[in-house]
Symmetry: C2
Subunit: 202 residues, 2 copies
């Protein structure tokens, strides 16, 4: 089993952190995104969208998409649970995970791709949209600040995959100068607790 | 238990179709998106992002996000399975579901929102980005066409949630004049089979 990834990219970090929380060792194959090593015919055969990370199982089955890879490991090794423990809890975690992905991580990613032109050899950057995406990311930090006023972690009482996604999104957001403020005390406290976990170094 | 939704919107249809496949009856509360009935303080308390659908359980717990709502019902009533049956299968379904969501449904939605100005009272449309999103959706139809050459359904041999997402995205895409072509024979055949299911009328 191995994972094709790019060490500096935010989504592969989510998987590494998830595996570190589970205590699962992994072999990694590094791909240079700027050189387009993720876009070769060989990699497109593993993932038609040409993105990282991609998990390759020993039987050759390839699983792309961060959330799908984490779902696989949650199912083969449920402890410690990072995606909820019963039907209601799993749905709550899935909701926050999805909202952090769409309203924060994706917005930060769109801001990065459309304002920096980092991938301009393979997409058409629209800077005006990138700026809007950055504003959207900032607005979602306000929602998280209110959520964390009443809950120690994003999905509730327990640390989950939603916290991993948010930490990785917030760290990546530095690149486009999006950050929570000193007034967002709950977010700041949450960040310090999550960033202090050993898995944050994975 | 009830679901707040808007009958004409594509994401609520995904949930209705999922529940129809499971044979689960549901009470629905209609919200008028153009009037902003989804953005009231009452609805924001149920879902901070102010989107539909939202599932409200009898204990008052609210679950937003289509995929999270479907995850809930898959867990409380596994038959018939729509999200995979073992760890590997679940990961494969999760991958295709996610890619259909991000590379098709989301792109169609962004094309709609940014080129029509439908929600211009609550967001800044960037038409150039909307057109790029539409092009991206079209490119993903090519990926699906190749996938369906070798597989009867998107995630493989079985009908799954990924087929529901794709059907709802493709039907919604008519609004922005994105459609598969007559040359995309596998996609056309798949569409006819999935659209003929009773759940497609839900």
């Amino acid at each position: 089993m191995k994972i094709y990834e790019t060490r500096s990219a935010p989504n592969p970090r989510r998987v590494r952190m998830f595996l570190a929380e589970k205590g699962i060792a992994m072999d990694y194959v590094q791909l240079d995104l700027q050189k387009g090593e993720n876009l070769t015919a060989q990699m497109r055969a593993k993932n038609p969208l040409g993105k990282v990370p991609v998990l390759e199982l020993d039987d050759g089955t390839c699983i792309a998409e961060t959330d799908a890879i984490c779902t696989y490991f949650e199912n083969i090794q449920p402890a410690p649970p990072l995606m909820g423990v019963d039907a209601k809890d799993k749905a709550i975690v899935a909701m926050w995970q999805r909202q952090v992905e769409l309203a924060l991580m994706l917005q930060v990613g769109m801001c990065f791709q459309h304002t920096t032109g980092y991938f301009k050899d393979r997409m058409v950057p629209v800077p005006e949209y990138g700026r809007e995406a950055g504003i959207n990311a900032g607005k979602y930090l306000n929602i998280l600040e209110r959520r964390l006023e009443l809950n120690p972690y994003i999905a509730g009482d327990a640390f989950t995959i939603a916290d991993i996604t948010a930490l990785c999104a917030i760290d990546f957001a530095r690149v486009v100068k999006i950050r929570f403020t000193d007034e967002q005390v709950n977010l700041k406290d949450w960040y310090q607790r999550v960033n202090a976990r050993a898995s944050a170094q994975a």
